[in-house]
């Protein structure tokens, strides 16, 4: 009997006073690592898969182009180009490249990578045209964005 009694009064409740601190630590970790999705995708992009891939190191030095069929079925099924938040035409690429260059320091401009997120069903004609536009605007460093795997 006495044994039971001892147990009852024995271990006190674990103090939860430090719980907020732990949670805050986790919170800060996620706050720092979070990258908010920068744009709303208006085109459907299913990336092709590849094995020989490189990681893009510095996210601040990457601009994204999206090419794929529009999500909105009313726009048709032909692949379209999306720059920033809206649909764009090939002629808009030059403007977009310049805007991207101006946002960064001049020394960093040659290091900017344009990452092409292209739907895998797209015909090469469109991609080649986009590449030509990029060349004309002197944005030569590009990345064919892929999914890892296969």
């Amino acid at each position: 009997m006495s044994r039971f009694k001892e147990k009852k009064g024995g271990t006190p409740a674990i103090s939860t006073a430090s719980l907020p601190d732990i949670i805050f630590m986790l919170l800060f970790f996620f706050m720092v690592t979070t990258v908010m999705r920068e744009v709303d995708l208006k085109v459907k992009v299913v990336l092709p898969e590849a094995l020989e891939v490189t990681k893009l190191e510095d996210k601040a030095l990457v601009d994204y182009l999206y090419i794929g069929p529009p999500m909105d079925k009313q726009m048709g099924t032909e692949p379209l180009l999306q720059l920033n938040d809206q649909f764009a035409k090939l002629e808009d690429i030059d403007q977009w490249v310049k805007a991207g260059n101006e946002r960064r320091l001049e020394v960093l401009v040659p290091k900017i990578t344009r990452s092409l997120k292209v739907d895998k069903e797209t015909y090469m004609k469109f991609v080649t045209d986009v590449k030509q536009e990029l060349r004309k605007s002197n944005a030569l460093k590009i990345n064919y964005s892929t999914a890892r795997g296969r």
């Binding site: 907020p20 949670i23 990452s115 030569l140 990345n143 892929t146």
Partner: protein, 241 residues
């Protein structure tokens, strides 16, 4: 009772809900976080040259890869399966049997490099401002080769105009294009890895560009197996045939 309270000042704020608030924030960030980094195949586009003259190209120095509208591969004039492309590209880069249809590999010899380096340095010293850049480049080139010999021993080098030329039809799918790029990339990566493993005991991909001791090694290996995949000017394939 009332008197006692006033003496103590306002009571402490209850911090019990702090954890709940923090939890809420935490869950928000957990949900919005995207951890995945962008991966892909990095390429450099050639700058646009104004009046481009059609260059004289030695056919054996070009590995011609054509992909037609039906996603079929035509490599050096023959149909090829995608799986065979890698070994084909490897053969092109190494030319193990000294075939006359593949690029002629030149032996790079230390004494010749030194000779050239001395010559170019002499020219550089007496050069006018306008031609200085040309000799500076030459000096750099030969220094690079000497450095590679030091690290790797004497090696055979691909001719300067050797390249893999990749052309696609207008209706080739992007997926196929990426697969072909992937195979070519992996052929070059394999060769580099093998060489690096043999000479330095580590794979090429394990060499770190940020480490000073690795930089000359990376440069040397890149010299032996350069990555020259040309993003060719778009050519209308239908016109050609």
């Amino acid at each position: 009772m009332l008197k006692k309270r006033a003496k103590q000042g306002p009571g402490e704020i209850n911090a019990g809900s702090m954890a709940d608030i923090a939890f809420l924030l935490l869950i928000f960030f957990l949900v919005t976080t995207t951890m995945d980094t962008d991966v892909g195949i990095l390429r450099l586009l050639p700058p646009i040259v104004e009046d481009q003259k059609p260059q004289e190209i030695n056919k054996r120095n070009v590995y011609e890869v054509l992909v037609n509208d039906a996603d079929q591969l035509l490599v050096e004039g023959e149909f090829l399966d995608l799986k065979e492309l890698r070994s084909g590209a490897r053969e092109f880069m190494t030319n193990p049997n000294g075939s006359l249809n593949l690029p002629e590999k030149n032996r790079v010899v230390a004494s010749f490099c030194r000779e050239q380096l001395a010559l170019n340095k002499g020219w550089l010293a007496s050069a006018t401002d306008s031609s200085k850049a040309q000799f500076e480049d030459a000096v750099k080139k030969w220094e690079g080769k000497l450095n590679a010999i030091e690290l790797l021993g004497e090696f055979s080098e691909l001719p300067n105009d050797a390249l893999i030329s990749l052309q696609t039809g207008s209706k080739t799918s992007y997926d196929m294009y990426v697969q072909v790029q992937n195979e070519l990339e992996s052929a070059i990566r394999e060769l580099r890895d093998e060489l690096s493993q043999e000479k330095f005991g580590r794979k090429f991909s394990e060499l770190d560009e940020k480490k000073e001791e690795d930089q000359p090694k990376i440069k040397a290996i890149r010299l032996v197996y350069p990555q020259r995949i040309s993003e060719a000017e778009p050519v209308d394939l239908t016109k050609k045939n």
